[in-house]
């Protein structure tokens, strides 16, 4: 029997809002924050839409740390501070080595890359910024969260493109199950609204010109967003002993690889990850009330994900409430799974399934109940969250009410 791992704090920041409750408020209202990108220099880009954080909140991170951070690390730290505050986390000398952090990052600190290349190649500067290396490295976000909160247990970054968050949370659950830590602050982050990254995505021709319409017959692709989501995880006993409020339980995780193609997904990989997740959580398909889909809004993903869900859930698939909240916060790459965790946990807590926004037209290949446009009241005992990625790296998490 596994140790029970529960969530006692949630933090989030993305285009929908600068804290988890604001994000959830927008999700349940079905409002999309996708729109014209105004804060980044777009230069010659054809892509003009994204889901950006218009203004950062007051975050209280000191200047000395701030100057050494790329935006993805800053977003992770802001979300981690919110989660730690909600959880009432107080690391001190006797427990700090029992608390760690794992942050999923799909890209890296591209702001610093962009700045250096432009300065050197276009402006004739002779050297890169002195913080370039520590800003760019994908493990920086975990380092910054640990420094900011004073966590001296297991600290590392995890990367698996668009499923980085879910892999990070699954790995954090493992640290606790294995007894390496009592508390883990885990989640994901990315800040990809930078010319160089957008230029690369533009070349792939998978970006929607207007907005993200998952499962809609007229969907045209994904939209990129920036953000971070972080949660405080601890054993059930640890949370009870310190009198922390338990928000939900991470019931299990399922991981698989497609071993097929670097960009084209398979049905079998996602199917296996969902099955493994149910087994790990000790749940039957009929126990699941809500499924937060990977739902990127590309033709291939939504169709294949629908097929995979049907294989796992059989006839019950049609009674499952499904939605893709990427329709509202866009695809925040390494942060997506952690933002979608907010949707799952709050759906459980409030009995409300957040919708798939921007839906216009039914697609025969995506014929499940994807909760179009309007949230639905429904008792949600358990929820699962799908994350699939380029590289065929699939990670599914299950959450349940405590």
């Amino acid at each position: 029997m596994h140790k029970r791992v529960v969530i006692t704090g949630i933090g989030g920041i993305c285009g929908l809002g600068t804290n988890a409750s604001a994000i959830w408020g927008e999700m349940r209202a079905g409002r999309s924050a996708i729109g014209p990108i105004v804060n980044s220099e777009l230069h010659d880009l054809k892509v003009r839409v994204g889901c950006e954080i218009k203004a950062l909140p007051e975050h209280g991170i000191d200047r000395k740390q701030l100057v050494s951070m790329d935006r993805f690390s800053l977003l992770a730290t802001i979300a981690a501070r919110e989660a730690a505050q909600q959880a009432g986390l107080m690391p001190h000398e006797t427990n700090t080595f029992r608390m760690g952090t794992i942050v999923g990052v799909g890209v890296c600190g591209w702001e610093a890359i962009e700045e250096s290349y432009r300065a050197i190649l276009l402006e004739g500067k002779s050297r890169a910024g002195i913080f370039t290396v520590p800003k760019v490295m994908p493990g920086a976000a975990a380092g910054h969260v640990s420094m900011n909160l004073g966590l001296r247990g297991p600290v590392f970054g995890i990367t698996s493109a668009c499923s980085s968050s879910n892999h990070a949370i699954a790995s954090a659950v493992d640290q606790i199950r294995l007894g390496r830590a009592d508390v883990m602050v885990a989640g994901g982050t990315d800040a990809p609204l930078v010319w160089g990254i957008l230029k690369g995505w533009e070349a792939l021709r998978v970006l929607a010109p207007d907005t993200c319409r998952p499962f809609s017959a007229d969907r045209q692709g994904l939209v990129l967003g920036e953000g971070a989501g972080m949660v405080v995880l601890e054993t059930y006993e640890h949370a009870m002993a310190r009198g922390a409020e338990i928000l939900a339980e991470v019931a299990g995780a399922g991981l698989s690889g497609d071993a097929s193609d670097i960009v084209a997904p398979t049905i079998e990989g996602p199917e296996a990850a969902m099955r493994f997740c149910l087994v790990d959580a000790g749940l039957n398909p009929e126990d699941i009330d809500y499924l937060n889909a990977h739902g990127t809004g590309t033709k291939a993903n939504d169709q294949i994900e629908t097929a995979a869900i049907k294989r796992v859930f059989g006839d019950y698939a049609h009674r499952l409430s499904i939605s893709s909240t990427k329709s509202m916060h866009a695809h925040c790459l390494g942060a997506s799974g952690a933002l979608e965790l907010i949707a799952c946990v709050m759906a459980i807590r409030e009995g409300i399934v957040p919708p798939t926004a921007n839906f216009r037209e039914a697609d025969a290949d995506c014929d499940l109940d994807i909760t179009p446009n309007v949230a639905r009241e429904r008792k949600v005992r358990t929820a699962i969250s799908n994350s699939f990625a380029f590289g065929g790296t699939n990670a599914v998490l299950a959450f349940k009410a405590v």
């Binding site: 000191d62 200047r63 000395k64 740390q65 100057v67 050494s68 002779s126 050297r127 910024g129 002195i130 913080f131 520590p134």
Partner: protein, 84 residues
Amino acid sequence: MADQLATDIISKIKAHAEPSGEEITTNTELTALGIHSLELTEIIFDLEEEYGIEIEMNTVDAWSNLKNVGDMVEAVRALIAKKA
């Protein structure tokens, strides 16, 4: 009385320090500035362009011997003199 080089370096440090901080002099301890050590190193490197010199200095070496702003000024002065 601060000379031109000291004034230059102090004004660069000021641009990176908290605006509400205390007056910075050559006696100010580097650790009291609230500035990341790498950022301080970068301030020195910014002088390369200004003085048309190339400062050969390893970050670790630089900071193991420097205690206050005055030490920083003197270290740079010595490097400039060597290049002249």
